[in-house]
């Protein structure tokens, strides 16, 4: 017993300060690909090399008309090797409540609004949490066919480093106790019914978060004989969290975004 206490005491507090301070993301980390549309001459190579067709040419007559779908992106960085006009940043907090906002074209880089101004994000999250003070968010996680990569990072949220419980957010065992369904995986044919039943067992108001490229769009698996190709084919999704897998900070950012949405929806229920 003494040993246990001594070890805890020596270790001290390890929880990071996110969202007050920026998350410790390595400069080597591969996050959002940034397309320099002004310098983009030919996007065909990048579109061809993308394993998930996250990069597409929107106008076949114009090789520069590139579109990037962050919901499909697995952040492998192959496009940046193929095209000098694409640069991989270490931005990973890319969640959005709007699926279309994850699609970036030269006219619209709507994800810009999310571009990590840590102060603003921290402030926003704090407001949400403060306004929500007194209540908490309970999450039921469902693996609808993921490779287990997303689960590793979701579990990481409960670690002392990220400690999601400090926001009043808990992972619960039963959908009956849950406010949010956090779904990973492309939704396999064999999990579709279980997912629907889990959602049906939740009390309203309820949120659905799609975590990871597979849940957002089917990812590298897409839609095939065994998969549906994304959570929103089955359930209404409130927040999309890109990443392969999204790291704990990206997940946390997504959950906090969705909490804002819950608040705005509450009065009508």
């Amino acid at each position: 017993m003494f040993k246990i206490l001594r070890k805890s005491f020596e270790t001290g507090i390890v929880t990071n300060d996110f969202p007050k301070a920026p998350a410790p993301i390595s400069r080597f980390a591969r996050g959002k690909p940034e397309i320099d549309f002004a310098r983009m001459r030919n996007g065909e190579e990048a579109a061809k090399i993308c394993p998930t067709q996250a990069i597409t040419i929107t106008n076949p007559a114009d090789a520069r008309s590139l579109a990037l779908d962050l919901g499909k992106c697995i952040f492998c960085g192959l496009c940046a090797e193929a095209s000098p006009a694409i640069r991989i940043t270490n931005q990973c907090q890319l969640a959005s409540t709007d699926r279309d906002a994850l699609k970036i074209t030269d006219i619209l880089d709507s994800n810009d609004s999310n571009q990590t101004d840590y102060e603003a994000l921290g402030g926003r999250a704090r407001t949400v949490i403060q306004k929500m003070f007194g209540r908490s968010l309970h999450i039921r996680e469902v693996d609808a066919g993921s490779c287990n990569g997303c689960e590793i990072e979701v579990v990481g949220l409960t670690s002392p480093i990220y400690d999601i419980e400090r926001f009043g957010v808990h992972f619960v065992a039963s959908p009956r106790h849950a406010d949010m369904l956090l779904v990973t995986g492309p939704v396999t044919r064999n999990m579709e019914l279980a997912l629907r039943k889990t959602y049906a067992a939740m009390p309203a108001p309820r949120l659905v978060a799609a975590a990871g490229a597979c849940a957002c769009s089917g990812g590298i698996f897409g839609a095939n004989y065994a998969t549906v190709g994304g959570v929103d084919k089955i359930l209404p999704v409130d927040v999309y969290i890109p990443g392969c897998p999204p790291n704990p900070t990206a997940l946390l950012h997504g959950v906090l975004l969705a909490m804002g949405r819950l608040r705005s929806r509450r009065p009508s229920v």
């Binding site: 066919g145 990481g156 992972f171 064999n190 019914l193």
Partner: protein
């Protein structure tokens, strides 16, 4: 090409007794084509006389080429450092083959998978119910070449599986899953219990089946590497390495030494973070949460190191056919060494907390015991096998990546309980740290990647890697345009799941989570 001299004896011995056609794929990869009637005898001979382990059974649809299916039985001859593939052709119109499950219980699921996916009838299988396709699936065989990947099937209509009945006074059934209480993958477990002890466990998997093997046939090779990373998230690097290994062998390409060392370092990092996470999770499952908090903290440091070394916390995107994609600066290599130096004493203290806790040990010792005999009969591999007397490790017996340049000590125990599966992990973490430090100190300079170019057409090759969970095999056949016509993926979990059924018997249901965690098998790797 001549086989390894150690394998020549086996070849002579086999040729003397059986009528076979020999094809030497590579010096350590030999194909024996035999008629269906001699296959059972030949397999038994390789197993009994030459200690061949039957590690992989799979089929291939060759009807377009010769009107037949081919079924392969892959044997690993660990002491002789070679793989033998027994190849048998099956009629394309009336596909039937004798089941070998009665002689080799370890291939029970793999044979049923062939039955479901290819529609080859395995005659005499002791339990020929559906396995890889659930019972509500229409009558399709998705791995046949003429089945389209994008076929739209009617939605899942509900479970129609008939479980075995377990009856008697006071016996009742406890169904669990596929959605579990924790944050884990989906699978269904049906416990038959009398009072608290478990009489019988039936496991139903393939909930996460997502057409992975079929997808490999529908992508260029460069994309396939990224797909391999998504077979089992916790083994991203190991699966991708096994895949690249197969591609490189098909093209007869040697990976530069620096890249090989970097691959080994990444494989060991993957082993470390998974083992630490599992040790913590085992502690959690017996209510020792403090140890898990430390374990998660340590795991996080390794994940961040992964991110620094590869750009991704799960080491994704790092590997490519022909080498690795990102070189390390001296600072990165030094950072790795520093992190591991700090990790080691911290890890020892965490282990010490667990081992000094009598109540924790009481729950772990003699729980979920898998006897060496059963482990041997079921062909249990990897860390679960090594806790039950299985003295094999591809890193030592079939050196790949840079394992030829470093000695890997393999911990082996014979007790086979949860505690000893944890001990294997503890020993392996220590060993992995030592191996990485050894390799980092001797990180060769030079290129990190060779260009692969166009792959040869219609070449077959085996890729193998000892992942943290056990041995991973990828077997490919190339086709024109840098594509594959078949990619067989064998995760160690496929082999090890039946061990769960044996290990839980007589234990109480509350101990099931910790027994399950002590094996920590991949659902996604099994279901693909």
């Amino acid at each position: 090409m001549n086989p390894l001299s150690s394998l020549q004896n086996v070849l002579n011995d086999v040729s003397k007794r059986y009528h076979i056609a020999v094809r030497v794929g590579r010096t350590d990869e030999i194909y024996l084509r035999a008629n269906a009637d001699v296959v059972p005898g030949l397999c038994a001979f390789l197993h009994r006389k030459w200690n061949g382990r039957l590690v992989n059974v799979f089929a291939e649809d060759r009807r377009a080429q010769n009107g037949k299916y081919t079924v392969y039985y892959q044997f690993a001859l660990d002491d002789l450092h070679g793989f033998f593939f027994v190849e048998v052709e099956v009629d394309g119109k009336k596909p039937e083959l004798l089941s070998l499950t009665n002689a080799f219980p370890s291939i029970n699921w793999q044979e049923r998978e062939i039955q479901d996916w290819f529609g080859i009838n395995l005659v005499g299988h002791p339990n020929s119910r559906r396995c890889a396709l659930h019972d509500d699936w229409p009558d399709i065989h998705p791995m046949r070449q003429d089945f389209d990947l994008r076929t739209k099937l009617p939605p899942f209509s509900g479970e129609r599986h008939h479980f075995r009945k377990v009856e008697g006074e006071g016996v009742f059934q406890v169904p669990v899953g596929p959605v579990h209480a924790g944050i884990i993958e989906p699978g269904h477990f049906l416990f038959s219990v009398a009072g608290e002890p478990i009489l019988y466990l039936q496991i139903r998997l393939f909930y996460t089946h997502k057409a992975t093997e079929k997808l490999f046939e529908n992508m260029p090779v460069d994309h396939c590497v990224r797909l391999a990373e998504s077979i089992s998230g916790d083994s991203s690097f190991a699966h991708a390495t096994a895949f690249c290994h197969a591609v490189e062998r098909s093209a007869n390409i040697e990976v530069p030494e620096r890249a090989r060392v970097m691959r080994s370092i990444c494989l060991e990092l993957e082993r470390i973070y998974n083992h630490i996470a599992d040790i913590g999770a085992i502690a959690t499952d017996v209510a020792f949460a403090v140890a898990n908090a430390h374990a998660m903290r340590l795991k996080e440091t390794v994940l961040r190191l992964n991110e620094q070394l590869s750009g991704n916390r799960l080491l994704r995107g790092m590997i490519c056919p022909g080498g690795v994609r990102f070189d390390w600066t001296g600072d990165q290599a030094k950072a790795a060494s520093t992190v591991l130096n700090q990790l080691r004493p911290d890890f020892e203290e965490m282990v010490d907390l667990i081992q000094a806790s009598a109540s924790t040990r009481d729950r772990l010792e003699t729980t979920g015991t898998l006897s060496p005999q059963i482990a041997h009969d079921l062909g249990i591999v990897g860390l679960a096998g090594r806790a039950s007397g299985f003295n094999h490790d591809l890193r030592r017996d079939f050196p790949h990546a840079a394992y030829g340049a470093v000695q890997v000590n393999v911990p082996v125990y014979t007790v086979g309980d949860v505690y000893h599966r944890m001990l294997v992990r503890i020993d392996e973490v220590r060993e992995s740290i030592r191996v990485i430090q050894h390799l980092l100190a001797r990180l060769p300079s030079g290129a990190i990647r060779v260009k692969i170019g166009e792959l040869p057409t219609d070449a077959t090759a085996l890729g193998f890697v000892e992942g943290w969970r056990g041995e991973i095999y990828h077997w490919i056949r190339t086709t024109s345009g840098n594509r594959l016509s078949r990619c067989r993926v064998k995760d160690p979990s496929v082999q090890n799941w039946p061990a769960m059924t044996e290990a839980v018997q007589g234990n109480i249901i509350p101990d099931f989570p910790v027994i399950n965690k002590s094996f920590n098998l991949s659902y996604s790797g099994t279901d693909r």
